[in-house]
């Protein structure tokens, strides 16, 4: 059995406090294939691969590389065995150039004045140029990371592995941050790598991608290996059912919308960020009661700044924001909250909660200054407890010590539940949801979508900002697509296909977009 498999992980078990991340998992990967690991968030895919990349040691089980038993001690060790990994969150130094990032740690060195060792950047640049041409990964070695887009950054990560002569390439959810068009391009790159003899392990929860490029697919559920399938002989429906462990519906239940009066009106909004870049350009839209307006766009195109400007966290250069007809453009944050804005921010740990506060303190973060929490400047601790007890129950927020748990010690999903619960409880006529389901598992995602739609049905106006196209297509009544700070298109959701939205996200103009094929998922 030895030579046939380039990677074998046998009977791997890994436990973390309170959870078995991998439970007796065995996978065998052949040289030169694309092997997909499919599973929900929390199924243990990343843990398994982290062990292959030397970041954790398995509690039980053995790892064989090229038929030889190895004990991977560190990512450096894994790199020496020609294993490379592209992480979900890129590990790049943002003010270094592409070339500097790629060679970092194994820089070509020349001797200055015959003895002083310095990094030979010229050589690095030319090496990387050659490498990028060989694999069709277009990058400019002298570009600075912070000036290039996400998909280029990802190519830099891939080149980083190839520069280290990786033969076994692990991709951790590589398409999560990309537009449909960029995804197509990446999948082609991955195929190309396989055709060049590399072995690819692809972590994903997107069935469509697996169907398109993977040869075989291992399905994990709650840490256990469910099955290993030949992708060609299996339908995506079967894979989905195995992955979730039950019959799944691809659609979110949603009643037809009934729109009321305009709640939020944004007109001619211009926002500059701290570096004085013009990040929101002349944006106008309206949201009616009972409507979910979703802003689709690739990360960093100004959508978060729109949310921050409406919530008052970012100053508006020009334009107007009207809430129920009242001008709130220059109102302090607290007053806007009181006028009726709920805001679930993108960065939940830096904005949404005070991490070192207890759960009960966090659940009152938006109304601690009102009765019953506060009378004449003095806090009523009992009111905090009662409020948090109620919300914990209602929104199923799980934590070690209930109300007195420090939020930092809670899982990201439960932190998010706490934020969502708190903001919904404000019963504001207007709610902003930014990336509300990022990093959550399918159950939690369904739950949050259901709550959001329930709020819509109660007649709230909702602004949804998401990088997940599926989420937008599932939930939105109206879709606005943003590119480079400008709204490219606003239209009722049922008049747009995912592909069209994807093309607007790339800044492609309207005429071309109409030709885009319809459909998403299957």
């Amino acid at each position: 059995m030895a030579e046939e498999y380039i990677v074998e992980m046998r009977h791997i078990t890994k436990r973390f406090p309170g959870i078995v991340a991998n439970d007796d998992v065995t996978i065998q990967v052949r040289k030169g294939e694309i092997y997909a690991l499919l599973g929900e968030n929390g199924a243990g895919k990343s843990t398994l691969m982290s062990m292959l990349f030397g970041m954790y040691e398995p509690d039980e089980g053995e790892i064989y590389i090229r038929g030889e038993k190895v004990k991977l001690e560190s990512p450096n060790h894994a790199t020496r065995l020609n294993i490379g990994m592209v992480h979900q969150h890129f590990k790049l130094v943002s003010n270094y150039t592409v070339a500097e990032n790629i060679v970092m740690g194994m820089e070509p060195v020349k001797k200055m004045l015959g003895f002083l060792p310095v990094v030979d950047l010229k050589k690095a640049n030319s090496e990387i140029q050659a490498l990028s041409e060989k694999y069709g990964l277009a990058v400019n070695p002298t570009d600075v990371i912070e000036n290039i887009n996400v998909s280029t950054q990802q190519r830099v990560e891939i080149l980083k592995m190839l520069y280290r002569e990786a033969e076994i390439l692990i991709f951790d959810e590589p398409t999560a941050v990309l537009t449909p068009q960029e995804i197509d391009f990446l999948l082609e790159i991955i195929k190309g790598l396989r055709d060049n003899g590399k072995t690819i392990i692809l972590i994903t929860h997107k069935l469509e991608e697996i169907k398109r490029i993977a040869d075989r697919c291992a399905i994990l559920n709650r840490g256990k290996l469910i099955d290993v399938l030949n992708v060609a002989d299996t339908s995506t429906k079967t894979m989905a059912n195995l992955m979730v462990g039950r019959e799944v519906s691809f659609e979110t239940e949603k009643k037809p919308a009934g729109f009321g009066d305009t709640v939020l009106e944004v007109s001619g909004l211009n926002v500059y960020n701290k570096q004085n870049f013009h990040v929101v350009r002349d944006v106008s839209f309206q949201i009616r009661a009972g409507e979910i307006l979703a802003i689709a766009g690739v990360a960093g195109n100004g959508q978060v700044e729109i949310a921050d400007a409406i919530a008052g966290l970012m100053p508006v250069r020009s334009g107007k924001i009207l809430l129920n007809g009242e001008d709130i453009t220059d109102m302090p944050i607290r007053e806007r909250t009181l006028k009726g804005i709920s805001y679930i921010p993108e960065d939940r740990q830096n904005y949404g909660v005070v991490m070192d506060f207890t759960l009960s303190e966090n659940l009152a973060l938006k109304n601690y200054f009102k009765e019953p929490f506060c009378k004449k400047g003095m806090l009523n601790r009992r009111a905090f407890e009662e409020n948090s007890g109620r919300l914990i129950e209602k929104y199923d927020i799980r934590s070690g010590q209930g109300s007195s748990t420090v939020v930092r010690s809670m899982s990201g999903g439960n932190q998010q539940k706490a934020i969502v619960g708190r903001e919904i409880e404000l019963a504001s006529p207007f709610m902003i949801f930014v990336q509300p389901t990022r990093g959550l598992d399918i159950g939690a995602i369904e739950n949050i979508h259901r709550q959001m739609i329930a709020e819509r049905d109660k007649g709230r106006a909702i602004l949804l900002i998401s990088l997940e196209l599926d989420e937008i297509m599932d939930c939105a009544d109206t879709i606005a697509v943003i590119y480079n700070g400008e709204i490219q298109k606003i239209a009722p959701a049922d008049t747009l296909t995912a592909n069209q939205v994807g093309e607007f996200m790339m800044g492609v103009n309207k005429k071309q977009a109409v030709n885009g094929k319809g459909g998403r998922g299957e």
Binding site: A21, G42, L313, R334
Partner: protein
């Protein structure tokens, strides 16, 4: 995903868990300072033994010198009580100073300027009240009020510079320390110097916050009135952070400025306010020192109190009640050192060595705690990322 965790939310188990959580938190808060103290006492004991003295005798002498253990004999008009009260008199300013540091730290600011604020407050009160002919009933409250006002203004200035011009409070407080130090010594040397002592002229007994050499029975006692204010301040600071809206806001700002702003808290206002409160407390430290313990001001000298207070506050885990204990401990060593020299033959410098070691270890332990927490957090984070 984690059914085992859910039990924590069921009502019947919640109260126990919470009290267990409280005990746990208390233990977490005290274990590292206690460890730091024990380690440094052992280490200092070794040093004392090496210099040829008996460490136990030396430590006991510290207690005797501070009036916490009886001496073998007392001079006229002296007893254990007079020793103890003079020890209280000695540590009162430190309680205020450490509270000043703690209040700023809770809001995420580092007040290194406590010494300068003490000097400014002490000097102003000395000139305005200490050299006046006001009677005691008017003078003493006035001294406290002036101390609070001047300290508060000095603190507010720092907070304002931070809020308005984003000037780092560490830099501005250090610079203000120099300014206060030299302006005050110029004023003293020019107008208020006592030609014999080369210090500022002594303040009037009426304005003094410590009743010096008060005959009680056959004793002459220094009665430190400031300690009452200090204990009151401890309670008030505790109430501020545990029970008030303002305290909630200050803590939120201290933990996370971005989240506080998101919650609609006016971060700038909170920073100015916390520095003001910190300054008020520093001002009280100043008047209880210069118009209580000392009675005069030595020009060109900036007290160590404001800097030691940082470590004292850390040793007390920035908790107002913890600060009482850490203040008493650190002051015990300083106050008892003279007697330790005469009784146990250990040089007073050794006392500074012990103090230094406790502070060093407690500072290190803050680092260890940070490392421990970060390690724990990293672990949680990676576990979280799995999901």
């Amino acid at each position: 995903m984690k059914p085992d965790r859910k039990q924590g939310n069921q009502p019947e188990t919640r109260p126990e868990r919470e009290s267990a959580g409280r005990a746990h938190r208390f233990w977490n808060a005290v274990k590292i300072p206690i460890l730091a103290i024990l380690i440094s006492l052992v280490a200092a004991g070794v040093i004392i033994a090496v210099t040829g003295s008996n460490p136990f005798k030396a430590y006991y002498a510290l207690l005797q010198g501070s009036g916490l253990a009886p001496k073998s004999s007392y001079a006229n008009y002296k007893s254990m009580l007079t020793d103890f009260l003079s020890y209280v008199n000695y540590f009162t300013p430190m309680i205020f100073a450490a509270l000043a540091v703690a209040v700023a730290l809770r809001a995420g600011l580092f007040n290194i300027g406590v010494s300068g604020q003490m000097l400014a407050a002490g000097f102003t009160a000395t000139v305005l009240v200490g050299y006046s002919h006001l009677n005691a009933v008017a003078a003493k409250p006035l001294v406290l009020l002036i101390g609070m006002a001047v300290g508060g203004l000095a603190g507010a200035l720092v907070g304002f510079l931070k809020y308005r011009f984003n000037i780092n409070e560490v830099v501005s407080t250090i610079m203000l320390n120099y300014i206060f130090q030299y302006v005050v010594s110029f004023m003293i040397n020019t107008y208020y110097v006592d030609p014999v002592s080369r210090q500022s002229k002594e303040v009037s007994p009426a304005s003094r916050l410590t009743l010096m050499d008060t005959p009680v029975g056959n004793l002459k006692i220094d009665i430190p009135l400031g300690i009452l204010a200090a204990l009151l301040a401890v309670v008030l600071v505790w109430i501020l952070f545990d029970r008030t809206k303002l305290g909630y806001e200050l803590k939120a700002v201290g933990f996370s400025r971005s989240a506080a702003r998101y919650a609609g808290i006016r971060v700038g206002k909170c920073m100015v306010l916390s520095m003001t409160i910190s300054g008020v407390l520093a001002g009280l430290a100043g008047v209880t020192y210069y118009l209580g313990y000392m009675g005069s001001i030595q020009p060109k000298v900036l007290l160590n109190t404001g800097f030691d207070a940082i470590a004292v506050s850390l040793l007390g885990s920035n908790n107002p009640f913890g600060i009482i204990f850490s203040t008493m401990l650190i002051s015990l060593i300083g106050k008892g050192s003279t007697y330790m020299r005469s009784a146990a033959g250990v040089d007073t410098e050794i006392a500074s060595v012990i103090t230094g070691m406790i502070l060093l270890f407690s500072a290190c332990s803050a680092y260890f705690r940070y490392r421990m927490e970060r390690k724990k957090r990293d672990k949680e984070q990676t576990v979280k990322e799995e999901k």
